[in-house]
Symmetry: C2
Subunit: 121 residues, 2 copies
DNA sequence: TATATCGGTATACTCTTGTATAGTAACTAA
DNA sequence: TTAGTTACTATACAAGAGTATACCGATATA
């Protein structure tokens, strides 16, 4: 079965549809995962770099969310044997391809904002 | 400025990009908004119909989330002057167009699942 | 010697989300 | 008369998400 046909079939089939949605939701839930991924879209970052780039995040939450993202194969963590240790975070291929989801979200978000302002204004 | 050019510009501009993402996140956050919208994709529904179709939801949460969705112009609520009152919920144009976001989420979710299984298996 | 950086962890708290259970007024069918 | 439907609301509670603050050992810098 071709990819396109399979996708069409899945969109009809509520079970797999819901499963895939659930996978995606797991990646973006919470307040901090999208900001972290957004920051990593521009290249590898170290812990403190992320902490500085994401205003308001505490080390506790950054650590927790990075672990989540690593578990879900969105982020890769690499430790370098320097003194003191260097730890680098980067997006996996899945992480990088998540940009397509972000772009559609942005597109919808903008259209939605326009429609709402047209009604109010 | 054309739509396409404007979108390209926004994708470069972190401020508006983040704003639009935020709009979209507001629509889907929490456990129940996507199930509700999913149910309404197939047409107007009444309160009790939604309650029956979404397993596990309590009337409290259904009421709360419907209010949220109404506030954000995703769902339209119509009251009919019958006895007892009939209340119908349906998606607004924005709500209907949200399907494009869902479809991309499904596409990414499936690809991601495949990639992860390939590594593990 | 004092301070700062690195990549975090520990503890305690609040705040939001969600659950459980019961109840409401008005009406209908058995 | 009793039970059920409609569209919810009220109260109380549990659990999870997020915040605030402090701390760790090792190393580098002033």
């Amino acid at each position: 079965m071709s990819e396109v046909l399979e996708l069409t079939r899945v969109k009809e089939c509520s079970g797999e549809y819901v499963l895939a949605i659930h996978d995606t939701m797991n990646v973006i839930n919470g307040k901090w995962k999208l900001p972290i991924m957004g920051s990593l879209l521009y290249g590898k970052k170290r812990f403190k770099e992320l902490e500085r780039e994401i205003p308001g995040i505490t080390p506790r939450m950054l650590s927790k969310q990075l672990k989540d993202l690593e578990l879900n194969s969105i982020v890769k963590r690499t430790v370098y044997n320097t003194t003191p240790v260097t730890v680098e975070y980067e997006l996996t291929p899945s992480g990088k391809e998540f940009r397509s989801v972000l772009d559609v979200m942005v597109e919808w978000g903008m259209q939605h904002r326009k429609r709402v302002l047209k009604i109010i204004g």
